[in-house]
């Protein structure tokens, strides 16, 4: 089992998301409620990229049902945290 705090996951998650948003100011201040599409203006075509990059970054596998939930930053952290705990 790998334990990372939500803050640690968030810090790494920003690096995962960064290539897919031009809104760097918003990215710097993201919180659990930040929506990937509505707030960070990430094109939906890049959502699969983010999931795959997160899998590689944390060495985890994100199943379909978990991926569906990754619509905002808080959900992303929840899913990554859960998958890390299962390792």
């Amino acid at each position: 089992m790998i334990i990372m705090t939500r803050e640690e996951i968030l810090s790494e998650l920003k690096k995962v998301i960064s290539p897919y948003t031009t809104n760097k100011e918003m990215l710097a201040g993201i919180n659990d409620d930040t929506d990937l599409i509505k707030d960070l203006k990430i094109n939906s075509a890049n959502l699969v990229d983010i999931i795959i990059d997160a899998e590689a970054k944390y060495d985890i596998e994100i199943d379909y049902d978990s991926a569906d939930k990754m619509v905002n930053v808080g959900n992303c952290i929840d899913v990554i945290s859960e998958k890390l705990a299962q390792k």
């Binding site: 809104n23 939906s44 959502l47 990229d49």
Partner: protein, 221 residues
């Protein structure tokens, strides 16, 4: 309520190598769709194009259904595209025009398909250019009254795309509705709506944008 959903993907912007990686495409295509490609479409469409064609159909279907179910999450593998019919003459030149606006589709140049999500059955038409794919989905299977438009823009930031696609549609609506000044707002669930004199009018619209392309669709009776 007659409605549509549409989506556009800039093929020039996709990562072909990543698209061909099973880790990537298995998050978009169902096993049935992968098998369908191997059995029926491998000689007709490059695999990366097939993946993004189906993505655009699925995203369009999601936009269509989300209007009726605002809590719906986009789960690509749960949308299943079948009965895909490829056109007899493909669009072999890049989309170089600034604007295309049309009612209905030329069935000899579009990909037609059926897409299901649970018990929902929808139909799609997709225009596949070498550099872009645009799909429109509706629930009746007849596209004769579907208005759609694609425009090329110079700026690719999200704000410019959003402004451009709204202005593009408003210009079209002004022509259709004899110069009436309409506005675009958002429903409580974030779905774009048309307002006239601050009141919502029952004309469901769909927007999409990716890189240098913006597009709209709606049904006008």
């Amino acid at each position: 309520m007659l409605s549509t959903g549409n989506d556009i993907v800039s093929i020039a912007a996709i990562n072909v190598t990543r698209t061909q990686d099973p880790v990537f495409y298995q998050k978009i295509l169902s096993q049935t769709e992968i098998l369908q490609y191997q059995q029926h479409y491998s000689l007709l469409i490059p695999f990366a194009n097939y993946v993004w064609l189906l993505w655009s159909i699925k995203e369009s279907a999601y936009k269509y259904l989300q209007r009726f179910d605002p809590e719906l999450l986009f789960s690509p593998t749960k949308f299943v595209v079948n009965e895909l019919v490829c056109p007899v003459s493909s669009l072999s030149n890049p989309f170089k025009r600034l604007i295309v606006e049309q009612i209905g589709f030329d069935d000899t140049t579009v990909h037609a398909a059926r897409v299901t999500h649970g018990d929902n059955v929808l139909w799609s038409r997709s225009s596949f250019y070498p550099d872009m794919v645009h799909s429109v989905v509706n629930g009746i299977g007849n596209f004769d009254q579907v208005n759609w438009g694609i425009k090329t823009i110079s700026s690719t930031d999200a704000e410019s795309q959003s402004e451009a696609v709204r202005a593009f549609l408003l210009n079209k609506l002004q022509v259709i509705f004899n110069g009436k000044q309409m506005q675009i707002g958002k429903s409580e669930h974030g779905v774009p709506i048309i307002l006239y004199r601050q009141k919502k009018i029952p004309l469901p619209i769909s927007f999409s944008h990716h890189k240098h392309f913006v597009a709209y669709s709606f049904i006008a009776q």
